[in-house]
């Protein structure tokens, strides 16, 4: 299983990469919206995308829409990673195609719980093919 982390913070990219790697996932990272859009346009693909809500060059909402426009990402899971604690704001992201949201602070407990809600915790490899 491959995960894509999009976050302008090197700290969050590092923390999420470590956590996802320890769960057996391969992890790619993008530093912002422009890089993420390049990734989406490339031949690469990811089964799980963790997207920051608040980046300098794009909103998480716009990025969710861009992902869902790609047919290759139809079955990929999208999790918003955000310091936004306004659940109603997150509803915009869910309506746009996100599957789940992870409120900061990010840690192993929070992440694995949310991955569990997406059915990705126990045997991530089992979801490799769609």
């Amino acid at each position: 299983m491959r995960a894509l982390v999009v976050d302008d913070s090197a700290t969050i990219r590092h923390v999420l990469s470590q956590l996802l790697g320890s769960l057996g996932m391969d992890v790619d990272c993008c530093t912002g919206g422009a890089e993420a859009l390049e990734y989406l346009a490339s031949a690469k693909t990811a089964d799980l995308l963790l997207l920051d809500w608040n980046m300098p060059d794009i909103t998480g909402l716009d990025l969710v829409k861009a992902v869902r426009e790609q047919i290759r990402y139809r079955y990929s899971k999208i999790m918003m990673v955000t310091s936004e604690t306004d659940v109603e704001l997150m509803k915009f992201a869910l309506d746009a195609g996100a599957d789940e949201y992870l409120m900061k602070p990010v840690n192993r407990e929070n992440l694995t719980m949310k991955l569990g809600l997406l059915g990705l915790t126990a045997m991530p490899e089992a979801h490799h093919g769609h």
Partner: protein
Amino acid sequence: MGIDPFLLLRPDILAQVAKTTFQGAMNIAVEGPLALPAEQEGLWISSTIFISGEWAGLLRLDMPEGLAGELTAAWLGLTTVPDRSAVRDAMGELANTLAGILKPSLPGARSVSVPRVCDTLKALTIKGKRDIIGATLSFGNRLFQASLWKCPPEFCIKVVPKPELNKVPALSR
């Protein structure tokens, strides 16, 4: 017109939010609020998150550079202090998380900015300043500071770098 929620916030509430942030993100216990001000000289890192909306202001986290480096290393699982940009990024993320947790306590606060991080030569003096709530915290015997500032709405509208977030349609409540 209801009571401004800012008037209900106290240093101990701000300190509790900071404790929750540090514990949740880094699994690190910090203490506070302490009665003494965090006024050590030396290089400090100041991380600011601007909050816009009907309630506007900013959240600021001020930490001595040495302590910031040590905490960043712990957060990233490193045995040595990472470079300056990594430390500043981590401090910005901490402030960002702190602001996010605090935001529901500020009805009317609409959106938060990306972090602005800069160096200062000493901690901010907060005592006696109107429209600023500050809490001195400590890790070990090293002091740092979190503060919440109330600002005129037009101030933060100008500096929040994400105007598109302000265009999110009004939510039914």
